[in-house]
Amino acid sequence: MASIASRRLAKELSEIKSEGCPVGIKLVKADDFATWWFTIEVMGESLYQSEVYTLQFRFDAQYPISSPAVQFVVKDGLEAPIHPHVYSNGHICASILGNEWSPVLSVTAVCVTLQSMLASCKKKERPVDNDRYVRNAPENPKKTQFEYHDDSV
């Protein structure tokens, strides 16, 4: 039933509109309850100083029981940040988007987690298996069974 997802997303959206997004996160587009776009910027000192990235959320009718499909937008001149857990096609290897998703998480909570993932990065580099992954990657990152290693980067 689609209304479960849309009711919860409507609540999240009205909260974002009344209270605003966390610092460094901006809502770009949320015209429906299927796809939302945000820009994300790491505040303070980091390897990504003054770089702005665009995040895409896609929701299915089971959200928030099922996780959103989240990735960086890589088209029309937009690029994914260079990070050991971010593939050049925008797909992100982060456990909270996969096997550690919880329905009490929210869109802004995911944004903040990804923001801090960038903030704590020590070295800008692509995942070691970037080329291999990108060549065979499914369109939807949720279809990838990521292995999560190395929480430190």
Partner: protein, 96 residues
């Protein structure tokens, strides 16, 4: 003076006893909504039309509270690993 009551309306209010900071629960919105659907405990889950006994709450031994229907939907998925959405401890329903 003599007063004759001709008509009266009884008004009652109910709320689930979530064991929180009764009676006002501190006015913190976070405490008043189900973490899964974000609807008020005293409202109903998105699958129900009427709040009340038909859409009850469920308590975990970990102390977290959800609409029963919301939690069961989550626990019914393999992704949940039968864990509480709040603290990821194994979900054990508390006796009330």
């Amino acid at each position: 003076m003599k007063v004759t009551v001709k008509h009266w309306h009884a008004v009652a209010q109910w709320r689930w006893d979530t064991g929180g900071t009764e009676p006002d629960r501190g006015g913190d919105d976070e405490e008043d909504v189900c973490g899964i659907c974000r609807a008020a405990y005293e409202g109903c889950c998105p699958s129900c039309k009427m709040p009340g006994d038909d859409c009850p709450l469920i308590w975990g031994q970990c102390s977290h509270v959800f609409h029963m229907h919301c939690l069961l939907k989550w626990i019914g998925t393999p992704a949940s690993k039968q864990q509480c959405p709040m603290d990821r401890r194994p979900w054990v329903t508390a006796e009330r």
